[in-house]
Symmetry: C2
Subunit: 503 residues, 2 copies
């Protein structure tokens, strides 16, 4: 593992945070640059006596790094468990064979199971630079993977991480395809199903291109960064959990791909299905419910597109041996009032606590989804699931279970409230005819969501509402004035965001 006959370099920590990307900093006049022919931005293998990683090389032309030393970014330091002046050797990385499969995919060739596995393994082991991840995502974009390739990709992603075996005949899970701001049903569905006696080890993602993912929202209410062992304990105790998938690393390849998908704002169908089903299968689920909201400005824009996506989901799930049910839901407007982690958390608490002003659409939709699963899992008679679910909210069973899960995960918190606000007033009296989900999501993101948990948008109207001039349409929330200004500037440039027509 360690190149022979070479003098080691001494490690030092520079305190540079490059997020998850390991970087090292080497003097351009160091002997190893000359003997190995390294250049700025070369990919190099960093070897210690115990471990090795591939990192990106930055050349230092100043005295930032002392002679005989090598600087580490925070990610590189952590990945190698370094201590000050530990010995380090650099070498050229072996060529990454699986990149030729990515290239083959660019040339429209089909990939087989072994090739997909090789790509995913190399990604998980950190052998892909960001440009390689971007090329893989792009080459698989749109409909460039067929159902068999999506199955291969999903299996490869499952194999590359941990997989939980609950030793139970029935373990349930749900997923929403997204694109609908505020559609945060999971934190309501999970306690309903767990209260009904089902096992639902739910892991959720952070936002990819949206203002909040379920993990972002749940993080304002409790601890979500659980280890696999902690998650297992919570589920064994309470029947369900609401954890962040990234920390349990059930599909570590997906966590890396999502970073680049976010930068590219590309979220392909094949990657979407593989991402969802690999996490469900790795979490040990046997029965899965998929919610596909359909609407002109939702992620899935037409019934046609929804049915094509559903058909792929069904085929891939069957190949993997998963029971799958799909619900098409209304995607014409946001669900609930809040858009952004904490604002959505406030809606969730209102529904679970049977608050008189709780958003009814969020309650009804959660009951619809939970009901479908109660029927699929044989806990309700056909046609009675939704009523059963509503009953579990009404009688406080869901709220008790939610609190118990939060306590088991580390305690229940109050979601934060943003100090900076802007209220958009109606320019005229009329009827709300259309709401643009994409523009709304954009405003919430510009306001700082999801990185700033209290940031986002609170929407005060629903399609069909009759409103009077100067009544509040929405409120932008931000944690600082800079981001509030960006969001408001964009909002005022897009009056089509909420269309009000004269009656």
């Amino acid at each position: 593992m360690i190149p022979e006959k070479m003098m080691p370099l001494k490690a030092c920590r520079l305190g540079i945070d490059t997020h998850h990307e390991p970087n090292i900093y080497l003097r351009s006049d160091s002997h190893v640059c000359k003997s190995e022919g390294f250049e700025a931005l070369s990919r190099v293998t960093v070897n210690t006596e115990h471990k090795q990683i591939i990192a990106t090389l930055n050349m230092v032309t100043s005295d930032l790094v002392a002679e005989g030393h090598i600087g580490f970014s925070e990610a590189a330091w952590d990945m190698l468990d370094m201590r000050y002046e530990d010995a380090v050797w650099l070498s050229h990385p072996k060529p990454v064979l699986s990149i030729s499969y990515v290239r083959a995919k660019v040339y429209n060739q089909r990939l087989n199971q072994e090739q997909m596995q090789a790509i995913i393994n190399d990604i998980v082991e950190g052998r892909y630079a960001e440009v390689h991840l971007a090329a893989f995502i792009t080459a698989c974009g749109d409909d460039k993977l067929d159902n068999e390739e999506i199955t291969f990709l999903t299996r490869a992603m499952i194999n590359a991480g941990s997989r939980i075996d609950w030793k139970l005949p029935l373990v349930v899970d749900k997923h929403c395809v997204g694109g609908l701001p505020g559609n945060r049903t999971t934190p309501i569905v999970v306690p309903i199903l767990a209260a009904a006696g089902l096992t639902i080890p739910k892991t959720s993602s952070r936002a990819i291109t949206s203002p909040a993912g379920t993990a972002d929202t749940m993080e304002t209410l409790t601890e979500v960064s659980l280890t696999l062992e902690q998650m297992r304990r919570v589920v064994e105790q309470e029947g369900g959990c609401l954890a962040w998938g990234g920390s349990v690393r059930l599909s570590p390849a997906d966590d890396l791909l999502i970073q680049v998908e976010r930068a590219l704002d590309i979220d392909s169908e094949g990657q979407l299905i593989a991402s969802v089903l690999s996490k469900k299968a790795a979490a040990g689920a046997t029965h899965v419910l998929i919610d596909i909201p359909v609407g002109p400005t939702a992620k899935v824009r037409s019934q046609d597109a929804a049915e094509r996506l559903a058909a792929s989901f069904v085929t891939v799930a069957k190949n993997l041996g998963l029971e799958l049910k799909i619900l098409f839901t209304d995607g014409s407007q946001p669900v609930g009032r809040g858009i952004g982690p904490a604002l959505e958390a406030h809606d969730i608490l209102a529904v679970l606590q049977n608050h008189p002003e709780a958003p009814d659409d969020l309650r009804q939709r959660s009951a619809l989804l939970a009901g479908a699963m109660l029927e699929l899992a044989g806990k309700s008679k056909p046609g009675e699931g939704e009523k059963h679910a509503l009953e579990l909210i009404k009688n406080g069973a869901a709220w008790s279970k939610f609190k118990a899960i939060a306590m088991a995960q580390g305690g229940l918190k109050s979601p934060p409230v943003a100090p900076y606000r802007y209220e958009l007033l109606a320019q005229r009296t009329g009827k709300v005819e259309a709401v643009d989900n994409r523009l709304l999501a954009k405003v919430a993101k510009l306001a700082g969501a999801p990185a700033d948990p209290a940031a986002g948008v609170e929407i005060h109207v629903k399609l069909g509402d009759t409103i009077s001039q100067d009544s509040a349409l929405l409120t932008v929330h931000a944690e600082n004035s800079g981001e509030l200004n960006y969001a408001v500037e964009f909002l005022l440039e897009h009056p089509e965001l909420i269309r009000v027509n004269e009656v």
Copy 2:
């Protein structure tokens, strides 16, 4: 341009070389992080009183950067012409609209002239991160651009840079599609054509995925980093030049795309044609000769593929108003003896100086290409171009012109010679049946070419040669022992590189 009401940061230079990518280093506890919500690896706009660029943000959690200061990488420092403690303001970059066109291309939509222009302009202005460049290259990979889109891309690349108008009816240029190690005809063809009275303002690229580009080779013989003004002066004086295209920035988008193509090892047909023809058109050429070597291990592997590529070249050239002639040449083995910048330069000098041991295949091929252009440009009668070209080598006119061009570019240099060598001997007596161009190129690259100009491979045999056991097949040249070892290790693992069969 400068965000109002914000305290400026003070610039400091950290001496970190991140190649062409601008990076900045900001304390994670600085006020601007909090007020603007910046995170590690955020893309941020860096504003001075005079200029602005987009850079990647690295967070500093140590005292590397003093309070109130902001650290700069070398590239960022140079791009903004900074001086110590100059005032700097950071802001969020405006959304890059053209990335939605890249996304549209991923979804198999055709792009029009305006969309291509928007993409190329944003690339040239530094608005694309590496992942965006990778996505664009991948989305255009294989045959995903039709001839009209390639025309749009080519025009966009021409428009994004400088274009020279020579005010002459006839300006010639040539290009080889590459993939054939050692095929360095350009430095011989240019002085032949200039000696015949033609105008040939030749710019060449550095290697993308090969061990040497013409610019790398020429750099061992003279100065190639000319400004547009210097290039114009050389051509007006001598009729021709041999400059590096990157320094004259005739197609600056191409220079940026090539960096990422190299990392991905993807070199698509559309990008190839756009890259070549944009540079020719920007250099003011009216008549262009394209050399396509065809062979089982060349870049173009079959006559079929060659003809498809040629057809696209012809259509796009016609759309741009360029006269184009295509020659298909033998791509079954390397040309000349040297592979690598300096080793190729030695071959070129031998041909131009009529050395008795000069590689005849390189001389013949240069004369074939120069002859075709002499005929196309009306300087030779049909069928007599090749003879005319050979005569201009033999009578010393080409060598005189080469020296004159080199002197005008800054002086004639002797190419370097590598201190470390390894000689591969034949294991048996027999006949040379096959040579793998790709593996040969790989050995030369592992030996250090093109970054180490003296590194590469010298090949001592040709297809069909009868050789005896223990005679030298090839010599690996390297500038240091580390790289020599990598190259030799790879060479010994691939005995199929030169196939010798018993007679």
